[in-house]
């Protein structure tokens, strides 16, 4: 066996090890109730904004605090706190993907992606504050 083959073998094994470990990095799409089984762990939840319920955002009090209600795929309604500014056009979204974790009955969200109904508009992502 040539040296280069041995080195390549080591590299391939290392690469496979890395690829296996990165799978543990990948998140999953959950519902509010499945996310609440592991409070404090971050997941994605796909849902809809409840337009009839209260939304609060007042930059005079806190520019990093926006609360609203959303329903997930299972139909469960839930309070969501987004620690960022209120995403523009969220009222018009037809679907939202929220990244965050469940704690104390509310979903703490650091990223919202909105799917918009119009073909002529691009989807948007609102980033909250992290790291």
């Amino acid at each position: 066996m040539k040296k280069i083959h041995i080195v390549l073998l080591i590299l391939v094994v290392a690469a496979i090890a890395v690829i296996v470990t990165i799978f543990s990095d990948f998140s999953t799409y959950e519902t509010f109730s499945s996310a609440s089984r592991k409070p404090g762990k971050t997941y994605y939840v796909i849902g809809h904004l409840q337009k009839d319920k209260e939304m609060t955002y007042d930059p005079k009090i806190d520019p990093n605090h926006f609360t609203f209600f959303a329903t997930d795929k299972a139909g469960e309604s839930h309070k969501v706190i987004f620690n960022g500014e209120k995403p523009r056009d969220i009222e018009k979204s037809e679907q939202i993907v929220m990244m965050g974790y469940e704690e104390g009955g509310t979903f703490h969200c650091s990223r919202i992606q909105m799917k918009c109904p119009s073909k002529y508009k691009k989807d948007q992502i609102a980033e909250g504050n992290k790291s």
Binding site: K2, K3, I4, V7, L8, L11, A15, V18, I19, I22, D25, F26, S27, T28, Y29, G40, K41, T42, Y43, Y44, P59, K60, I61, D62, P63, N64, H65, N83, G84, E85, K86, P87, R88, D89, E91, K92, V97, M99, Y101, H108, S110, Q113, K115, K119, Y120, K121, K122, D123, I125, E127, G128, N129, K130, S131
Partner: protein, 831 residues
């Protein structure tokens, strides 16, 4: 139901369709003829006839593509909104310099740009490829056929659609909308949708053409690789492929970093690189291309690594198609910030078919020649350049694989769901995910880029190598130590990366100066390696210590000492609310929002003035002050909300980067009302929200530039001296006018900085020298005028930009040197 529509310009569209079909047919014929030229190769007279035909039709194809461009440009510049493309991507008010950008906002336009570059590069190949012309051009023309189908816009029945044409009429693209049942519908389509405001930026004028040139150039090494397999001649292609690969690496690298610069200057995701799928999609082909460049160098000098070279270079072009698939079909919908939501299904299948065909061609060519591919039985030495270059290429390739796996989650997650039942999503902290893995790639490649030039092909003398590497490593170690200490870089992986970057810099500077003695023509490799190492250093310094200086204190108190993402999320509050006129501490600075440039208009860009002052902590003297003007479009393209552009203060060693996240909408928030005050004698004082004003007396027959005095007019101004809370003194002079002794008129005066408005309500003249004035005062509540701002510091980001420039410069030195050498350089590969 044929309606005669009024006012449409159908001519340009029909002409455009004609050119689209011409270009498609010409590329088809060119492919056919080049294939025939190859087939009849042994019969010279026949073959050269086919070759001439093929050349002619490729030139016609190129001309038709340019004509399509011109036609579409005509439609856009003349604002022919009956065409969907013009309506969707431009508007009357769009500044002329951005008219070109309309091309690349839409999908059809960007396919055209890509096709255009293929044409130009194809013409160069046609002139320079020599014996390989027929084969390379057959491949290039074939790819042009595939690209041509993308803008055909043919319908078969209701469901099957092949490509989409840029010359589609608005009424055809929105069939069924009631407005199009009116013959004069054009009278109601007054203006186009306009260009996305994020693209209204000079980077968006130059970045897409460069990036697409980079995409397009991957076709040439691809074509050469297929051509040599086809011809079974494994030496001829080395020099041209090397030249094209170097050119490609330089252009694609520039394009990617221009994208980074655009993101940094005009997007508000807070940096130049976010491991976004769209960015990754162009980075991955660059990595495989650079890997292929190095294995090709190995092949040129030692005859080894031929198969690897061909695989990597073929893959680079295939990956460009794959990245088009990722970014244009909307498959990334859930994961990317700026994935273009595409035409969906039709395009998905279309691109998959193209990728499958090109992949099959590549695999078939490799398999067919597998047994005759050049291989060398003997083993290379460990202390040889080829050994380590090969390993570096493999590492780059593995890095590309990792990035592809994570980026492609939406592609393979349905399969994974079927197997595991779990629906996979991207990592919650994408930056950390990639950084944790790619830091090792950076370390290994950084160190290899430092040492590899010191080794010689085939055999290296161990002693002198160890001495040279030892000295440079020691210098690099000291340099890295100093930087780590000064910049407070404490994470151990990043300390190793810092060393790798410093080693790359020191070793390549030393190599260029001491060993190559600055002979310019030879410097290509060491200069580009130096640039690469500087890029690594710049990335590390600017990202590791990137920090927000805007912290909100209005919300929950900050509690330090916790580290998980979930906890940081609660505590890091990078947005700060700034009320007009009230200074906020930011890092070393006091920042004050002093007002905006609100001018009404469509898609208006509003600049927000923020004054930064650095003060001496004892004497409170202002040591340094500057203004930043982050701007935002309010309600762009008819949407709610705002689209912001950052503003950045550049220092040589750091950038202060600010952008607006939210601003009060003036039209809604001005709730304050006028209140009446009466003044009679000098010294009367009125108290304000944040200060007071003292009456200084009337001025009779005031001449004032705010109004044109008539003959019988009487004008009186009331003078006030306004003292604000910080001790600044200003004057305000509302005006009372009796025109022609009959008509009353009032001229209001304002103190913008305090949001103060004053005007007369009445004037009672008592005697010649005394009077009572009723003054109406309004003061905007400063809490009604606010912005939400984020400010970040990027230290040493200039090292990154400088590194990119050096690296690209190095590529061009190599290219120049390669092209200036005449004769065969393929000596070693000839076996």
């Amino acid at each position: 139901m044929d309606i005669q529509f009024v006012g449409e310009h159908l001519g340009p569209g029909q002409l455009g369709h004609f050119f689209v079909i011409t270009s498609f047919v010409a590329s088809l014929f060119s492919t056919f003829s080049y294939f025939n030229a190859v087939r009849t190769e042994t019969d010279l007279s026949n073959s050269s006839k086919w070759q001439l035909l093929a050349r002619g039709s490729f030139i016609i194809h190129t001309a038709a593509i340019i004509a399509i461009f011109t036609t579409l440009f005509y439609i856009i510049t003349n604002h022919l909104f009956e065409y969907h493309y013009a309506w969707e991507h431009s508007s009357l008010s769009l500044p002329g310099k951005y008219l070109l950008s309309c091309f690349w906002e839409g999908q059809e336009g960007s396919f055209m740009l890509w096709t255009f570059w293929h044409c130009i590069l194809g013409l160069i190949v046609m002139r320079t490829a020599g014996v390989l012309e027929t084969r390379t051009m057959a491949i290039i023309s074939m790819v042009q056929v595939f690209l041509g189908t993308m803008i055909l816009g043919f319908y078969f029945g209701d469901d099957v659609k092949i490509g989409s044409t840029p010359f589609m009429l608005l009424r055809d693209s929105m069939q069924g909308a009631p407005i199009f049942s009116m013959p004069n519908y054009l009278e109601f389509v007054k203006d186009g949708n306009g260009l996305n405001v994020l693209l209204q930026n000079y980077w968006m004028v130059i970045h897409p053409p460069v990036l697409f040139l980079g995409f397009a150039s991957t076709l040439i090494p691809f074509a050469y690789c297929i051509a040599v397999l086809w011809k079974k001649d494994y030496t001829l292609f080395v020099k041209p492929t090397l030249a094209w690969t170097i050119f490609n690496g330089a252009v694609l690298g520039t394009g990617i970093m221009m994208g980074g610069a655009w993101a940094y200057e005009s997007l508000n995701f807070g940096g130049y690189w976010a491991w976004d799928p769209v960015e990754n999609a162009s980075l991955v082909p660059w990595l495989t291309l650079i890997a292929g460049l190095h294995t090709l160098l190995v092949y040129r000098s030692t005859g080894r690594a031929f198969t690897m070279t061909v695989v990597l270079l073929l893959l680079s072009h295939l990956l460009i198609w794959y990245s088009t698939f990722l970014t244009r079909t909307g498959i990334l919908g859930k994961t990317s910030v700026h994935a273009f939501t595409g035409d969906g299904k039709a395009l998905t299948y279309h691109l998959l078919i193209v990728i499958a065909v090109l992949l099959l061609v590549s695999i078939a060519a490799l398999v067919k020649r597998w047994k005759s591919l050049p291989r060398i039985k003997t083993e290379e030495e460990t202390l040889s350049r080829e050994f380590w270059m090969f390993i570096g290429s493999v590492i780059l390739f593995l890095s590309a694989i990792q990035i592809t796996i994570t980026t492609s989650i939406p592609v393979w997650s349905p399969l994974a769901k079927w197997i595991t039942g779990k629906e996979f999503a991207p990592p919650t902290d994408v930056m950390q995910h990639y950084n944790n893995i790619q830091v090792w790639v950076a370390i290994v490649v950084g160190i290899l880029s430092a040492i590899v030039l010191y080794m010689k092909f085939k055999h290296t003398e161990g002693k002198s190598l160890a001495a040279r590497l030892g000295i440079t490593a020691l210098i690099a170690f000291l340099m890295a130590g100093a930087i780590a200490w000064g910049q407070n870089i404490t994470t151990w992986q990043y300390d190793i990366m810092l060393f790798a970057a410093c080693y790359g810099i020191v070793a390549n500077v030393y190599y260029g100066m001491v060993i190559q003695k600055l002979r310019f023509k030879k410097l290509g490799a060491s200069v580009s390696h130096l640039g690469f190492a500087a890029v690594l250093l710049g990335i590390l310094l600017s990202s590791y210590n990137k920090h927000p200086i805007s912290f909100s204190t209005t919300g929950v108190a900050i509690d330090f000492g916790k580290n998980s993402q979930e906890e940081n999320m609660k505590e890091n509050r990078e947005n700060v609310t700034m009320f007009r006129g009230i200074p906020v501490a930011m890092g070393d600075y006091y920042a004050t929002y002093t007002g905006d440039s609100d001018v009404a208009g469509k898609d208006r860009r509003i600049y927000y003035k923020v004054l930064f002052e650095r003060k001496d902590s004892v004497s409170h003297k202002v040591l340094e002050s500057f203004m930043l003007y982050p701007d935002a479009f309010i309600n762009p393209k008819g949407q709610q909300g705002l689209s912001a552009n950052p503003s950045t203060k550049h220092y040589w060693n750091r950038d202060i980067f600010t952008f607006i996240n939210s601003a009060s909408d003036k039209t809604k928030s001005d709730t304050s009302s006028y209140r009446s005050h009466t003044v009679t004698k000098v010294g009367d004082t009125i108290y304000l929200n944040n200060g007071y004003m003292v009456f200084t007396g009337f001025v009779k027959d005031a001449s004032d530039k705010r109004y044109q005095q008539g003959e019988n007019d009487m004008a009186v101004s009331a003078g006030f001296r306004v003292y604000d809370a910080s001790g600044v003194v200003r004057d305000i002079n509302p005006l009372f006018i009796l025109k022609d002794k009959k008509y009353l008129a009032f001229v209001e005066d304002t103190v913008q900085q305090m949001g103060l408005f004053a005007r007369f309500a009445n004037l009672n003249v008592i005697t010649n020298d005394s009077a009572t004035a009723e003054i109406m005062l309004k003061q905007t509540d400063p809490k009604d005028d606010l912005i939400v701002l984020k400010a970040l510091v990027f230290p040493y980001i200039n090292v990154l930009w400088l590194g990119v420039i050096i690296m690209v410069f190095g590529f061009f030195i190599s290219l120049g040197n390669l092209l200036s050498r005449t004769g065969s350089v393929d000596t070693a590969a000839v076996k």
